[in-house]
Amino acid sequence: MTEQKTEIIFNSQVASGTFLMGMRSPEIIAEAAPGQFVMIRVSPGLDPILRRPFSICGIQRDDIFLVLYRVIGKGTLALSRVTQGETLSVLGPLGRGFNLPEKGRKAILVSGGIGIAPLIFLAQKMHDMDILFLSGYRSKKEIVPVGWAGLSGIKTFISTDDGTIGHKGPITDLLETDISGSSHEIPFVFSCGPLPMLKRVAETTLEHQIPCQVSVETHMACGLGACQGCAVRTSSQVNRTYFHVCQDGPVFDSRSLDWKNL
């Protein structure tokens, strides 16, 4: 883990309100694992003051890591205005990422919206496995093109809430269809996205007794395990009340979280 001034190699819009940014840091790449994140100081001023957490979304060459983000507030807006050649302070890689299953097992990746970010990096690392990639969006214009990620050969399905492309409805519909269709093989499920979707994924996998890892989001101040600001409720399986997402996560076994009170 390091804190360093990191050069922006590119920062461009790839879908409606969505940006892909490449940052040069051999140090971060040397340690980065899928599911881990970085804390970026999006502007040198005092407002916004806190760093913003972003998943590492992939690696290019051997010196650029990627961040895929959606503009939702003043921090991400400031980030979208940063241009090539500028530098930003980046702290990372942070947290605990996904546990990769043994080779030969089937993996289902389920994303909602910008939650696709950590799953792209995960898919890159599981290249030689049997992967089904299910990604849900609100609408066609938000679909993140992933041609750059080198994921060809992976079975991919898309859903949109408004039906502008792919299946019309939540992406969990496709997950449920796939799981009930393949009775003999128990897959591993990996998921990231908005809370209602994650909750549904957790319920479905629990019902079918399928192992499931989720990446969750909370507000964060330090990202280092120092402030205790990033608490999420644990389930009764765990002998403590809260996890700290920046340190114990952001990836968790879905059964270890209390989905009713997260």
Binding site: I49, C227, A231, Y242
Partner: protein, 310 residues
């Protein structure tokens, strides 16, 4: 002393610090969280996360929310409790070559006393900082630190049960901070530190819910600095014991405001989140500042506030 190396040492009553920069309680964990980023021994000292007698899980989330030039937190003093602290954290802290101060808080006056007693005689702990900004369960949840006589009782109990210098950390959520400072001085405090966070609230206008699950929280960061500087100025003028200042310090210029107002050391809080190396950067910049201004000892700056207007 080498001409180019100004003397940064400061005295806080019985305590000597290698430089005036401490990290503030709750913003620097138990130190170790930051140890991969820089050499902690460069710091004047570390004040560890507030410690209670028993482990505390803390408040439900969301616990933090960003505000203009600051943040609100309602962590709920989540911590591992005295026993685990002594078992898991203290041995590592002891290996450091910097001043370690343990911040404590209780739900009752007896609990403050028990904590002080539990830390008695232990190596590696240079002083105790007493957080009196927490709700007093026995008195309907009013913070201990809002009432001079209750503040004095807490102080007296800790001093009686401790063999270490006792720093009482003052709450800004009071009508007159000087009254509390005077009361704890009289009760035997060796120093005071201020300010703790200012109580505040933020509302989500779409859901119409408070942004913090706890409804209100403590405001910190540069937004509170002018309030903190003024309170330090007031307290310095009313007590004889040393004052440690803090609240919204982001860089060495901010730190200097507190030193000039009369604080003998400063605490860096929220800045650690924004820039984990803030503490060491401030130390280096203070050194540079002294060299540039021909100041031999940092103590020569303390309390040099100038009132003439020409």
């Amino acid at each position: 002393m080498n001409e180019n190396q100004p003397d940064l040492k400061v005295r806080i009553g019985p305590l000597e610090l290698k430089n005036p920069v401490l990290t503030a309680s709750g913003t620097f964990g138990y130190g170790r969280e930051f140890s991969g980023l820089f050499d902690l021994n460069l710091l004047g000292g570390i004040v560890v996360k507030g410690l209670s007698l028993k482990p505390m899980a803390g408040n439900p989330p969301p616990r933090i929310v960003e505000t203009p030039c600051g943040m609100l937190n309602a962590i709920g003093l989540a911590n591992i409790g005295l026993d685990l602290f002594l078992e898991e954290k203290l041995p590592w802290l002891k290996t450091l070559d910097t001043t370690v101060i343990v911040n404590i808080y209780g739900h009752s006056i007896d609990e403050y006393g028990a904590l002080a007693a539990g830390l008695k005689g232990l190596d590696g702990i240079a002083a105790i900082e007493v957080n009196i900004s927490c709700p007093n369960v026995e008195q309907g949840g009013m913070a201990f630190g809002t009432n001079p006589s209750v503040s004095a009782q807490v102080t007296e109990t800790v001093v009686k049960n401790s063999d270490k210098p006792v720093i009482v950390k003052l709450s800004p959520n009071v009508t007159d901070v000087r009254a509390i400072a005077l009361a704890v001085e009289k009760a035997g405090a060796h120093a005071v530190s201020l300010i703790n966070t200012l109580t505040g609230m933020a509302i989500d206008i779409d859901s119409r819910k408070p942004k913090l699950a706890n409804i209100f929280g403590g405001l910190s960061g540069p937004a509170i600095r002018p309030v903190a500087v003024y309170m330090v100025y007031q307290v310095v003028r009313s007590v004889k014991i040393p004052v440690i200042g803090g609240g919204g310090i982001m860089d060495y210029r901010d730190a200097l405001e507190f030193l000039i107002a009369g604080a003998r050391a400063v605490q860096i809080g929220t800045a650690n989140f924004v820039n984990p190396e803030a503490g060491v950067e401030i130390i280096n910049d203070l050194k540079e500042f002294c060299i540039e201004k021909g100041i031999e000892k940092i103590e020569d700056i303390i309390g040099t506030l100038c009132f003439t207007r020409d």
